[in-house]
C-alpha cells in the first residue's frame, strides 16, 4: 500500500498486483457476494425455523452438496482453462455402476476405491486425449461422451438396477469427522489443494493463461497439450471420488444415476464466479456456489415449499445472485 500524502505513486503501485490480494480485493470478489447471500439466508432461516439451525440439518446440507463440490473443483480447473466437461454425469454413472458391481462380487473397500478412481481417471484421460490430441472442441467431445458413457453404464447392468450393493463404503457418504460429514471434508481438502495449485504453482497459473488466450499461452511456453489432458484427467479422477460418495449412500444403483448432474456442477462453478469463457475463477467460489445451491434446496424443504417449485426458486436465485454481482461490478466501475 502506498503511504498517504504521497504525490507521485511508487513504481511498485503502478505494476500489476500479482501477489497483493488484500481485504479490499477480497470484498470486491464474486465470492463475497455469494458468501453474504449465504450468510443472510442462513441467518433468516435460522431465526424463522428452529429445525433449520440444527447440527443435523447443517450436516444434511454439506452431505448433499459434497458430490457437486468435489466434481466442481475439477470442473473449475477445466472451465478456467477455457474448456467445459458436460460428461461428468454419465461418467459418474459408469463409475458408480462399476464400483457397485465390484462390491457385489465381494470386493473390499480398498479395491472398490481403486476401481472408482481408475475408471474415473481413465474416462477423463480419454476426454483429454480426444480434446488435446484430436484437437476437437471440448463441448463436442464431452457431449458425445455424455451419450456414449450413458449407454456403457446401461449396458453394463443390462438395463437393470443394481440392488443389494454392500454398504462397505457408507463411511464416505454419511460418516462424520469433527461434526462435519467426511464427504465434505474430502471436498474441502481437494478444494484446498486445487486452490494452492491454481494460485501458487506455475502450471496452475498456466491454466489461467490458457483460458485467457490459448495462442498467447502457447507462444509463452505453456505446455498446452499436457495441461489440457491434465485438467480433464483430474476431473475424471474427482468424478471417481464422487462415485465413492454416491455408492456409499445407496444400496440400490439406478440406471439414471447422474442425469442432470453435469448441469448442477456447472451451475455451482458458474455461480461461484468462474467465467464460462475461461481465464477467471476460483475453487473457493465453486465451493460457495455449491453450498448456496444446496442451502436453497434445503431451505425449500424446511419451509415446506412444494417440491415442484424448487426449479423456479433455484433458477430465480441463480439469476438474482449473478445479476446482483453484475450490478455491483458496474456500480464500482462507473
Amino acid at each position: 500500500m502506498a503511504a498517504p500524502n504521497q504525490t507521485a505513486p511508487a513504481v511498485a503501485d503502478l505494476l500489476p498486483r500479482i501477489r497483493g490480494y488484500g481485504w479490499r480485493e477480497a470484498l470486491e470478489a464474486r465470492e463475497a457476494t455469494i458468501a453474504v447471500v449465504l450468510v443472510v439466508m442462513c441467518t433468516v432461516m435460522s431465526i424463522a425455523y428452529p429445525q433449520f439451525r440444527t447440527l443435523g440439518n447443517a450436516q444434511n446440507i454439506l452431505q448433499a452438496v459434497a458430490m457437486t463440490a468435489i466434481v466442481g473443483v475439477g470442473m473449475t480447473m477445466v472451465i478456467v482453462s477455457g474448456g467445459i466437461d458436460v460428461s461428468v454425469g454419465s461418467a459418474l454413472s459408469v463409475c458408480a455402476v462399476v464400483v457397485g458391481m465390484r462390491l457385489q462380487d465381494g470386493a473390499g473397500v480398498v479395491e472398490a476405491i481403486a476401481v472408482a478412481l481408475a475408471v474415473g481417471t481413465a474416462i477423463g484421460l480419454l476426454n483429454g486425449l480426444l480434446i488435446g490430441v484430436g484437437r476437437i472442441h471440448s463441448i463436442i467431445v464431452t457431449f458425445g461422451m455424455l451419450n456414449i458413457l450413458r449407454v456403457v453404464s446401461f449396458k453394463a447392468t443390462g438395463g437393470k438396477w443394481l440392488s443389494g450393493v454392500p454398504g462397505s463404503l457408507s463411511y464416505f457418504n454419511d460418516g462424520t469427522l469433527l461434526w462435519l460429514p467426511f464427504a465434505w471434508w474430502m471436498a474441502m481438502a481437494l478444494g484446498a489443494v486445487a486452490t494452492y495449485y491454481l494460485w501458487r504453482r506455475p502450471t496452475g497459473r498456466h491454466l489461467y493463461a490458457l483460458g485467457g488466450n490459448p495462442e498467447t499461452a502457447r507462444l509463452a511456453g505453456v505446455a498446452v497439450l499436457r495441461r489440457t489432458i491434465f485438467v480433464y484427467a483430474i476431473t475424471g479422477l474427482f468424478v471417481g471420488v464422487a462415485s465413492i460418495v454416491y455408492v456409499g449412500g445407496n444400496t440400490v444403483i439406478q440406471t439414471n444415476v447422474g442425469v442432470g448432474f453435469e448441469l448442477r456442477v456447472i451451475a455451482a462453478v458458474v455461480i461461484g464466479g468462474t467465467s464460462i469463457l475461461g481465464g477467471k475463477g476460483t475453487v473457493i467460489g465453486t465451493l460457495l456456489g455449491a453450498l448456496l445451491v444446496g442451502t436453497i434446496e434445503n431451505a425449500l424443504v424446511v419451509v415446506n415449499a412444494k417440491a415442484l417449485y424448487t426449479g423456479v426458486i433455484l433458477g430465480g436465485l441463480i439469476l438474482l445472485t449473478v445479476g446482483l454481482d453484475m450490478l455491483r461490478r458496474r456500480a464500482r466501475e462507473t
Binding site: I136, I140, V141, F143, A267, V270, Y309, L314, G315, G316
Partner: protein
C-alpha cells in the same frame, strides 16, 4: 492489408489431396456421404428401411429436434458462449400453456395456437433480456430458465398431462401421401424461413457479425443488443412451435414434453458444423445432421436393436465426425 493479386481459382484441381480436402473439410459434403452410406447400408441390411413410407414417415421424428437445432444455430452463432439450454423446458412450459388455453380458458384452436407461439416468444425474450440487456452469461441465464420453466410446467399441471386437447390439432400429425403433415406444414417452412433469415437478410448478417467479432460489430454500428436479444426471442418462439407439434403428436399437452431436447438439439447443431465459439454455421448442414440422426435412429428401431444404442450412435457420430474434420483440417489445410 494483404496484397491479393487477382484471385486465381484452379478450375479443376483433381489431385488426391484437393478431392480429399473437399470431401472432408466441407461439413455438408461429409454429412451427405455419411447419409448416403447409411441409406445404402441400412437399405441392404434392414428390411423395410428403403421404402417410401418408411423414409417419409420417419421425418415426423425429425421435426421437433430439427426445429430446436435451428434455434440453437441462431443463438450459438451470436458468439460469446451463447447457447440456449432452456429450449426443452420452454417446449414443456409452452405445451402446458397451450393445454391450459384450450381447456381452462376455453379458447378455440387458432387463437390458442397463436398465443402459444407468442408465449414461446415471451419465454425466449426473458432469456434475451437477461443476456443482451443485463449482460449475464447465456449459459447461466438459460440454465436458470431451464430449471424455472420445467418446474413451472410441472407446478401448473401438477405433473398430469392435459389430454383434452381439441382433436382438430391432431390433424397436424396425419399424413399427406405418406409424408407427415408436420414435416410439410411446419418443418419445411421453418427451415425455409430460418435459411432466408440467416442468408439473405441484414439481420442474419448481423448475427454472424456479432458472433465473429462483437467489438467490431459494435463499432460498425450494428444493433448488438437487439440482434442478441432477437436470437434468443426467436429461439423461444421456435420452442413454442415445437410445443404445438409435440402436443399434436402425443395427442396431449405434456409437462415433460421437452425433456432432454436441449442436449439433443445442441448435439445436432454441433454435428451440423455450428461452431460453439460463434460466427460459423449455416442451415443446410444442420438439416442434414438432423436427417442423419433421425435415419440412424430409424434404422436401429427397424433392425430390432436395443434403442439405447441410438444414444451411443449419436455420441459416436458426433465425436467421429469432429475427429475426421480435425485431422483432415490439419492434413489438407483448414478452410
Amino acid at each position: 492489408m494483404i496484397d491479393v493479386p487477382a484471385v486465381r481459382r484452379p478450375r479443376a484441381d483433381l489431385s488426391v489431396s484437393a478431392v480429399l480436402r473437399f470431401l472432408l473439410i466441407e461439413r455438408w459434403v461429409l454429412l451427405v456421404i455419411l447419409l448416403g452410406g447409411l441409406i445404402a447400408f441400412d437399405g441392404a441390411r434392414v428390411q423395410d428401411f428403403l421404402t417410401y413410407d418408411n423414409l417419409a414417415g420417419s421425418t415426423a421424428f425429425a421435426v421437433e429436434v430439427g426445429i430446436l437445432a435451428l434455434a440453437q444455430l441462431l443463438v450459438i452463432v451470436t458468439g460469446r458462449g451463447a447457447i440456449d439450454l432452456s429450449v426443452g423446458s420452454a417446449v414443456s412450459l409452452a405445451s402446458v400453456f397451450f393445454g391450459e388455453c384450450v381447456t381452462k380458458f376455453g379458447l378455440s384452436l387458432w387463437p390458442a395456437v397463436l398465443l402459444t407461439v407468442l408465449f414461446g416468444l415471451g419465454l425466449g425474450a426473458v432469456n434475451g433480456f437477461f443476456v443482451a440487456v443485463v449482460g449475464l452469461p447465456a449459459l447461466i441465464v438459460t440454465l436458470a430458465t431451464l430449471f424455472a420453466y420445467s418446474s413451472l410446467a410441472l407446478v401448473i399441471t401438477n405433473t398430469v398431462p392435459i389430454s383434452d386437447v381439441p382433436p382438430k390439432l391432431f390433424d397436424l400429425a396425419l399424413y399427406w401421401h405418406g409424408i407427415p403433415r408436420q414435416t410439410l406444414l411446419v418443418y419445411v417452412p421453418v427451415i425455409a424461413i430460418v435459411w432466408l433469415l440467416m442468408r439473405f437478410t441484414v439481420f442474419g448478417r448481423h448475427l454472424y457479425g456479432l458472433g465473429t467479432n462483437a467489438v467490431a460489430e459494435r463499432f460498425a454500428a450494428g444493433p448488438v443488443v437487439l440482434a442478441r436479444f432477437s436470437a434468443f426471442a426467436i429461439s423461444g418462439m421456435l420452442a413454442g412451435i415445437v410445443a404445438l407439434v409435440t402436443s399434436a403428436r402425443f395427442a396431449s399437452a405434456r409437462p415433460d414434453a421437452g425433456l432432454n431436447l436441449e442436449l439433443q438439439s445442441i448435439t445436432i447443431a454441433v454435428l451440423g458444423g455450428v461452431a460453439i465459439t460463434g460466427g460459423v454455421g449455416t442451415v443446410p448442414p444442420v438439416v442434414l445432421a438432423t436427417l442423419l440422426i433421425t435415419l440412424v435412429n430409424n434404422g436401429i428401431n427397424l433392425a430390432g436393436i436395443d434403442p439405447i444404442w441410438q444414444q451411443a450412435a449419436l455420441g459416436g457420430i458426433l465425436i467421429g465426425s469432429a475427429l475426421l474434420n480435425s485431422f483432415a483440417g490439419r492434413r489438407y489445410g483448414a478452410t
